[in-house]
Symmetry: C2
């Protein structure tokens, strides 16, 4: 087997054979195939595609490159959720303890933000003392003790994906449905969950800009999960507007705690409950009542135990940014658009996100939203509040927000669309 | 400027701007763009193409990455030839001294073989004492003293191309007309020749398998040369059958000397004269008579001076391989096909070519051809003789020759096609 023949095959629109896929993924992980060879292959895959059988084999080869976790010794069914990434997407924070409170075990391996989308681990790290890095034993202990754990994936899971993901990030080969689907699913399947709900975002703030692309990605991932014996469901959800009223790390933790306390913005509550119902259903607990677990404080109890088990203090005050800047509504009328991508870039530029993997994030930075589409606004009254420790960034963030807001004349009839656009099982 | 935006642009079928091209070629040469980024871009170019203006700018950027030579101080016009590579293509050997004998200066920077095609430098190195590596000063001295020089290109010419060519070779990104055309022409234009004749090979033994592809490559290169003030003409020539009666290093030198002595196979003589006429015409010497220069020995005189000026002994016996194996004609009748690619691979496997850049070649190895298409053959009589120092390779070479020979019944009317298929100016 030689790598040039594999690259040429995909370049010339052939199917890759099982043997070619197994060999090239393994050889790349071992370093026998060089980065410049894999990036040429990744570009050929991005431009010429892979069929369902190729994607399945590619995913299996990435799983086989590392260890697999096993939660079968737990006394409850496991359920996991993965979001393809959006703006203000703090859903994992209330969702994991909520689903645990309803009887499932939630082993949530999460990532950090890159670009305009935030990362769950960055958000939780704004809680004083909280630790993202756990050994496999620590992770199992937290999961056994509290029902839920949110932590960083260890180096042993799908190392082929880890290496390939870093390569795609610097070679313009991220936006490929076969490569995105196999990357997500190899990690989730290796992690060993019994059931999985995918939150596939669609819209300006998401990687998938169209419902058609999102549907293809969702169907591909559901197929991969099902083929590997993981009960998998995907919700296609709107990401044209930020989720909730905050985008930023500590800002989103505060909002998540409000949801766990029985309050919080309607869209965050709705999406949390929709995902929880599908997770519980897939985990074989169709009679659980997540709305009740939010109302009676049992989800909040799991949250507090989970944060404490990972070294955090759930009662400690959250960091607040040193400086604020208010963005007023530009006109009086009805807010009809608040662009998710623009808000995501603004939060990122304020310090909530990072430009390179090695950068630190500001815990307090971000964007606070005072009105969502459908609400009346008055010219000059606060629409957004920008938070940062480094006020020289305000101008740069404001630039990102240009054109992000649309206000229609008073009396305009405008109803925002639903948060869940479709469901693929 | 950042490399990911350049890769994405070509990936998404956009034109690259002049600034993007200048920046990425320079940054790659300096090492600021990594190999894995350039290989992804090369694959995107291979699959999505470049238009004429992009190719022109890309070529100019590769020329600008290094030094340019200048032959304007010579008292004669310069003419150069480039072949896209074929099997048995020894034409440079008789051609350079022939054109010099007719009054032009021929600065012929040549390469080594890789894969199934032979390299001019490998062939000449079978002459005892001959040196391919000359300094710029030595090169000019040989050119001034004899009218022709055949040597290796120095490191200073188009270093961007040198680096990119090596990368393409290991990443499955060789077969791109924009990248092939810009690679060839950047070296030829930087070399400073005033006129250039391109021998674009078509057929099984060539990189371009179809007349359509060869015509596109030829037109692209002629356009590039013309735009840079080099009088450029391309001949499209047949490479479905090996050129002449030999493929191998010393074997081809011997055949070239026969041509310079006024003999040699008809196809080699015809192609040498056709290329010589176009080179002399482009150099402003339309009245020169290359047929006469072959007949009267003046081309042979230049050959002997040129070989001596580079340390070689034109009278020394050429190396002969230690072992021979005769391949008989499989039937009695008329030979109608002798596949160039199969003969090229056989010669390569016998030791005439190299699998990796750092391998050595055998001077005596190769294939001797006793009949060309159109000739009558008798079952069991010698059709080919294989030469090698390492007889364990015979079986491997014979495998390459399976199906390479077609013999039609006696009396079949078969006339081989012309060697020159088209001319693009």
């Amino acid at each position: 087997m030689d790598v040039i023949s594999v690259i040429r095959a995909k370049r010339d629109r052939a199917r890759l054979s099982d043997e070619q896929i197994d060999w090239v993924v393994d050889a790349y992980t071992r370093g026998a195939v060089a980065d410049e060879q894999m990036s040429a292959l990744a570009m050929a895959i991005l431009l010429n595609g892979m069929d369902r059988a190729e994607i399945a084999r590619w995913t299996a080869a990435m799983i086989a490159s590392g260890e697999r976790m096993d939660f079968s010794a737990l006394d409850r069914p496991t359920a996991d959720k993965h979001s393809t990434g959006g703006v203000g997407d703090k859903i994992t924070l209330p969702l994991a303890p909520l689903v645990a409170a309803c009887g499932a075990a939630v082993p949530q391996l999460s990532g950090r933000g890159l670009g305009h989308t935030g990362g769950t681990l960055d958000k939780l790290e704004s809680i004083p003392g909280w630790r993202a890095a756990l050994s496999n034993t620590e992770m199992l202990d937290v999961l056994r003790g509290t029902g839920a754990v949110i932590c960083a994936a260890g180096d042993g899971l799908a190392p082929a994906d880890r290496k390939l993901y870093a390569l795609r990030d610097v070679t313009g080969t991220v936006e490929s449905i076969p490569l995105i689907a196999s990357s997500i699913m190899s990690k989730k399947i290796a992690e060993g969950t019994g059931s999985l709900v995918l939150d596939v975002k669609v819209g300006s703030g998401a990687f998938m800009k169209t419902l058609e692309d999102a549907r293809e990605l969702a169907a591909t991932m559901v197929g991969l999960g099902t083929d590997h014996g993981v009960r998998t469901v995907a919700l296609l959800t709107d990401m044209s507007v930020p989720l909730g009223l905050t985008a930023g790390n500590a800002l989103e933790v505060r909002e998540s705690v409000e949801v766990l306390a029985g309050g919080g913005p309607a869209d965050v509550v709705d999406l949390t409950l929709a995902l929880a119902r599908d997770m519980l259903d897939a985990a074989g607990l169709p009679d659980a009542d997540p709305a009740k677990a939010l109302a009676d404080g049992s989800a909040m109890d799991v949250w507090r135990r989970m944060i404490r088990a990972q070294g955090g203090d759930p009662d400690a005050p959250l960091p607040i940014a040193a400086e604020r800047h208010v963005v007023p509504a530009p006109a009086t009328g009805v807010l009809t658009a608040l662009d998710a991508y623009a808000v995501g870039v603004a939060a990122w530029r304020l310090g909530a996100g990072r430009a390179r993997k090695e950068d630190a994030v500001q815990a307090g930075a971000g964007v606070e939203i005072h009105a969502k589409p459908g609400a009346p606004v008055r010219a000059g009254e606060p629409l957004l509040t920008l938070h940062t420790d480094t006020p020289e960034r305000f101008a740069y963030a404001l630039e990102a927000l240009e054109g992000a807001v649309t206000v229609a004349p008073e009396g305009t009839d405008f109803t925002p669309g639903p948060i869940v656009l479709d469901r693929i099982a």
